[in-house]
Every structure is written in structure tokens, then in C-alpha cells.
């Protein structure tokens, strides 16, 4: 028996969520008194997983681009070779893409958006967010193999130094008729999925020509930029920046909303963020009810001051 995580990497290096997954997997493995195994694909720094409690790493070489069907098959084979009891994947776009395929291959009951370690392991009950973070559901997984999709930032990093043995795993070849023709990936900017801090602008910014305020604040903080739905509908910003119930979920440590009213559909998507700051000229804006910290003020005056003050703070703390 084992707990198996799929530890994602990018350009050969583990992603931070892989370490969060390891921390989480370790907690379950300890509870079940079993081994924690990580599966990595095209990853070079596998040893780092040992720092977070991974006992064994199975490394797989895959030729060509990410392919959900092929990755799911690889992970399923590797997991079965370890008599998997509980498999865990992250909530990245790639993992959410491959997880249902993996669930079918492992004949595993799959619960996504899980926010904590299992409430009990027998029966196997987990808590997940539902209604776009407006509520939680306790779900029971009744299959022999369980598959958990862990919500981003739900567990955090918990070091647990172990020496991980690293060995390569030969997956049987599986071909696909799908072909990636081109990839268009921003190389420098922080993505909403990975960001610790997200700076978001709403209709209160009046037009795309004012977005330098959002961008400058974001780059000062090393943050990703986001926006409300009407802002992307009007083409001020790309759709990929639209957050909320019908856009992307945000589960960052800090979410700064500027000129966003705080409509229920917007708040639903950002509720999982830990700390929320709102800057809005209208003291009645609903966002003030959802935020931890708020400034009633004009964004065009407040944001430049924030940029200046954050820069000064960073210079002092550098």
C-alpha cells in the first residue's frame, strides 16, 4: 500500500505546488502508516521531494509535449506498481485536465477541490469546497483506490526531511493522435495559478489606458494581474485574467482588488484567497464586507502612493 502524488515540474524543475502536494501526501501517509511515493515526469531535481517527506520518487522520461491522456496512463501505471491506496494531484490546469482520466484508469473515486487532510480514513471522508467557495461538502470515497485533487494553497508547505530514493520508471508506450501545434506561453510574468499575490482591477479603473497602475503595483509586489468580468468582456484585458465564478479561481495569499465592486460572482472566485484588500471610492461597495483590509479612496490617488510605499518598504527590508 502507498500514497502516490503526481509532483509536477516545469522545465525540469519541481513546481512549488509539488512540494505542497508532498507535504499533504506525507500527512496522509503518516495517518495510514505507509510510504509516500512521488511520480515525476521529465523532472531533474527529484531529491528535493525528500525534504517534504517523500520516501520514493519514480521518474519518468516522456518524449514530446504534455498530453493529458499519456500522462494519466503513465501516472496510473506507476501508481499501480506501488499498490496505490490514495493518489493525490494538484489543482493546476494540467492536473485538473488529467485527473478524471486517471480516476477512470485507477477505478478510483475522485474528489476535487479538497481543502484539508481527510476527516477520517475509515470511512474515507474529505472536505471539499463547493458552490465556488460559498460552501463545503463532506464527501465519502467508497472505492478501494481514492483520488484527491488538492485545492491550491489549502495545506501549505510542511518540511519533513527524509532521504528519497530516486529510481526511473519505464512506462509502457502509449501513442496519441492528438498533436500540439504551437504553445504560446508568457515566459516572464507571474500566472494567476502560481501567484502568491494577485492585483486585480475592475471597471472603476475607467479604461485600459489606466492599467499601468495595476501592472506597476503587481510588478512591485511580484504579483499576477487579474480583472473583473466586465473588464475582460469589454476587451480591456484578456479573458485569461478574468477571475470569479465564471472565470479563474484565485487562491493566493494576498488579493488586492482595485475599483472592483465585489459582486457575488466575483467574490465567489476569490474567496479562497487568504487575505483580501480592497480599494474603492464607494464606502458602500459590497467588497468591503468580504475584505480584511480596505481603503475608501480614489484608485488614481491611492495606487501611485501604494507603489511608492511598497517600494520603500522593500528597500528597507531588502
Amino acid at each position: 500500500m502507498s500514497v502516490v502524488i503526481y509532483a509536477e515540474s516545469e522545465k525540469g524543475q519541481l513546481k512549488k505546488i509539488a512540494l505542497e502536494l508532498a507535504s499533504y501526501g506525507k500527512a496522509i501517509a503518516a495517518e495510514l502508516q505507509t510510504e509516500l511515493v512521488a511520480v515525476t515526469i521529465n523532472c531533474e531535481n527529484n531529491e528535493s521531494l525528500g525534504e517534504y517527506g517523500v520516501d520514493k520518487v519514480l521518474t519518468v522520461e516522456h518524449q514530446g509535449a504534455f498530453n493529458a491522456q499519456q500522462y494519466a496512463t503513465i501516472i496510473a501505471e506507476a501508481a499501480r506498481s506501488q499498490s496505490v491506496a490514495v493518489a493525490v494531484v494538484s489543482s493546476s490546469a494540467d492536473s485538473r485536465f488529467l485527473a478524471p482520466l486517471l480516476a477512470i484508469q485507477l477505478e478510483a473515486g475522485y474528489v476535487s477541490n479538497v481543502v484539508a487532510t481527510p476527516i477520517s480514513t475509515s470511512p474515507f471522508q474529505v472536505k471539499r469546497s463547493v458552490f465556488t467557495n460559498k460552501a463545503f461538502n463532506i464527501s465519502e470515497i467508497n472505492t478501494e483506490v481514492k483520488l484527491i485533487g488538492l485545492s491550491k494553497n489549502a495545506f501549505g508547505l510542511h518540511p519533513h526531511p527524509t532521504t528519497a530514493t530516486v529510481s526511473s520508471f519505464e512506462a509502457s508506450s502509449n501513442t496519441s493522435t492528438m498533436e500540439v501545434q504551437s504553445v504560446d506561453q508568457a515566459s516572464d510574468s507571474v500566472t494567476i495559478a502560481d501567484a502568491e499575490i494577485v492585483v486585480s482591477g475592475g471597471r472603476g479603473l475607467k479604461g485600459p489606458e489606466n492599467w499601468h497602475l495595476i501592472e506597476n503595483l503587481a510588478s512591485t509586489l511580484g504579483a499576477a494581474t487579474a480583472c473583473s468580468k466586465p473588464v475582460s468582456d469589454m476587451g480591456w484585458r484578456p479573458h485569461s485574467e478574468h477571475v470569479g465564478q465564471t472565470g479563474k479561481p484565485v487562491a493566493s495569499n494576498l488579493y488586492i482588488a482595485i475599483g472592483v465592486s465585489g459582486a457575488i460572482q466575483h467574490l465567489a472566485g476569490i474567496n479562497a484567497s487568504k487575505v483580501k484588500v480592497v480599494i474603492n471610492s464607494d464606502p458602500e461597495a459590497p467588497f468591503f464586507k468580504a475584505a480584511d483590509y480596505g481603503i475608501v479612496g480614489d484608485a488614481f490617488e491611492v495606487v501611485p502612493k501604494m507603489i511608492e510605499k511598497f517600494k520603500a518598504f522593500q528597500a528597507e527590508n531588502a
Binding site: 491522456q69 480516476a103 506561453q185 508568457a186 465564471t246 495569499n253 480584511d292 483590509y293 510605499k309
Partner: protein, 248 residues
Amino acid sequence: MKILVCISHVPDTTSKINFVEGDTQFDTQGVQYIINPNDEFGLTRAMWFKEKNGASVDVINVGGPETEATLRKALAIGADNAIRVNTPAKEAIQVAKEIVSVIQQNQYDLIIAGRESIDYNGGMVPGMIAALTGMNYLNNCIGLEIDANLATAIREMDGGKETVTAPLPLVIGAQKGLVEESDLRIPNMRGIMMARKKPLTVMEPQEMSEQVTSVSFEKPAPKGDVKLIDPENIDELIALLHNEAKVI
């Protein structure tokens, strides 16, 4: 070309979320239901294929009789046939298996489902359909063209996008961006009249599954009051974020 669009019947985005029967059931009192927004983007793209390529478009829902109004709305938007599998939707694998048994009787070229439903947010049904049928699958689909038997689709990834080709049959997980917001259709009177005459077939369920069962619901703990900071005193905000919230 035959297209099947999976339609999830979900509470309107402004619905109050409450639970009844000892927090085991969602409280449907006063709740308005809509076509799941991600499915609506998919349905709208299907209408485009219908108008440009003469595709036929079926819509399917797994659910009780109360979901028929939502299926009728999809017919009013322009779908040709509706199918309802008469069983409450309890878990993704059950829904996927019911849809697969309909697919096996009908030879579809393209299956469109939403990336996730906005009620339970599972994000599982399209992928499970693909895995159970062996069809190709692309999630987070924000662009789809079909030329003869080959689909060219765009997937949104974390921090970018990729263009992928795949021979049909194909399953996609649709989302915003697949069509423009302004292309979404509000059914007109003529569509609503025509929808009344279109076939809505009720099928009995084939599958029993209890892989994952719901135990109970909880609401998040109420949040404390916002701390207001004077716009002239940004230093206080920074101090709070640094010392109290510890996020910078």
C-alpha cells in the same frame, strides 16, 4: 456532423446557498436555475457549427423532471433534440456513465461539456466521458475549428495557451473564451415556440454508482469586519500586511 452538448442545470449565480435536512441537502427554495455558464459557451459554439456546417445538435441532461425547463431553454437557443436521463445527478462518474450509454447508441462526432459546473465544481464529467469512450479530450477549450475529420482546438493553460489538433471524435471541456460573451443568445419568442415542438426524450438510467457519496454540507465561518485604513496612511496598511497578516 453530430454534436452532443451536456447541459448542467445549476443555481443562478446570485442564489443564496443554504442547506436543509440536517445540512445534507441543498435548499432549492426560491432558487432560479440556469444553463451552467460553461455549457452555454459550448452550446453557442455548437450553434455556430449547426449554422455553418449543418451539424445536428443534441443536448443531454442527467437529472429529474425539474431540469426540463433548462433543456427547453437549450432547445429554444437552437438545439435540435433534447435527452433527459431520468435520475438525480449524484456524482460525476454516474453522470458520465449515463451520458456514455447515450453516446454509444448515437455515434456523435463531438461531445461538448462545460469545464466544470458552477454548483459542485467537480471538473470531471468531460474527462470521464473521454476516458470511458476512448475519445480524444481537450479541457479548458477556448477555440475550436473543425475541418472534415480534424479538429483544431486551443487549450488555456496556466499562463498561456496551446493549439492542438485531434481527429474526431473529440470531447471538449468548454469555458469562457470559446465564444465571445456578446455571441451568447437569449432565446427569442420564435425559438421558445419552436422549442415546445422539439423532441425531448426521457430515458431511464442504466447505471448505479456509489463511488463518492455526499455526507453533509457546511457553510464557511462568518468573516470578521474589514479594517479600514486612511488613504493618507498607506504605511499602516503595509505594517498590517507585514506584521498581522504576514503576507508581505
